[in-house]
Subunit: 152 residues, 2 copies
């Protein structure tokens, strides 16, 4: 199964935006992420609806942050993406008539639910501000290297 990397990608985008003054175009972000501008717009569309980012058209346009990084958690970002599937596995059928399958579903399902709950809880504990602070810390630790240069 192909792994969904949108959450990873969008966080990357947000943190890069956090280190830019003005708007950044989808084109630039696409180069940084080594992908297509349309993919960028697609990913950021959900965040725009919630006000986490803003977009402007025309000259000098592009993407800017739209809210306080301290008030947005990874969970918020995840939800803004449309709550994509977290687990790669699932029960074969829901609401089966077979008693065996019911027992299997009950056993697996409770574990699946627990794992999803754990993920969401941990996502809820981490704010973008904390991630940003971590980036700054890493920059200092490794010497103030310019960002965006080490992308390839």
């Amino acid at each position: 199964m192909k792994r969904d990397s949108r959450l990873s990608g969008v966080l990357h985008l947000l943190l890069h935006l956090a280190q830019q003054d003005g708007p950044v175009t989808s084109d630039v972000l696409a180069q940084v992420m080594d992908t297509n501008p349309v993919v960028i717009r697609r990913i950021l569309a959900g965040l725009r609806e919630r006000g986490y980012v803003r977009s402007e058209k025309g000259h000098g346009g592009g993407w800017t942050l739209g809210s306080d990084l301290a008030k947005v958690t990874l969970r918020d970002v995840y939800l803004a993406l449309g709550s994509p599937t977290l687990l790669a596995m699932g029960n074969r059928t829901e609401a089966p008539g077979c008693l065996v399958e019911q027992a299997v579903n009950a056993a697996l399902g409770s574990s699946f639910d627990a794992a999803e709950a754990l993920l969401l809880a941990r996502f809820g504990e981490v704010t973008l501000a904390r991630l940003h602070a971590d980036v700054v810390r890493r920059m200092k630790a490794g010497g103030v290297r310019q960002l965006g240069k080490a992308h390839r």
Copy 2:
């Protein structure tokens, strides 16, 4: 992302085998699972290597359980399937040069790891015997219904 239901499926198969005296053919199991015999063989192949099931060719052949249900956990079964991907999400890249991505990976990765560890731990706590006991309990609770009849 398409969800992997092999673990769910194989548990279903094992519990059905547990309630049969003699060998059960892939054909019969396929009907029970509403799928193709080849799929059954493919799923059970890994379990055979570890001795959890045995297969016999020819007349009167088919699949039988190969070990004590109390000694096999869901984790064992999961491993026998080849440890398929548990999470539908992942980091965009591993070992990135970009500091931002490193920070993102660290934050997400620890959560991903925790969720996977939780799943494996819970799988390790559940034996097939316990699942089987649960099936029996459900049968008594709902009247002794014949298994395999409520499959479609």
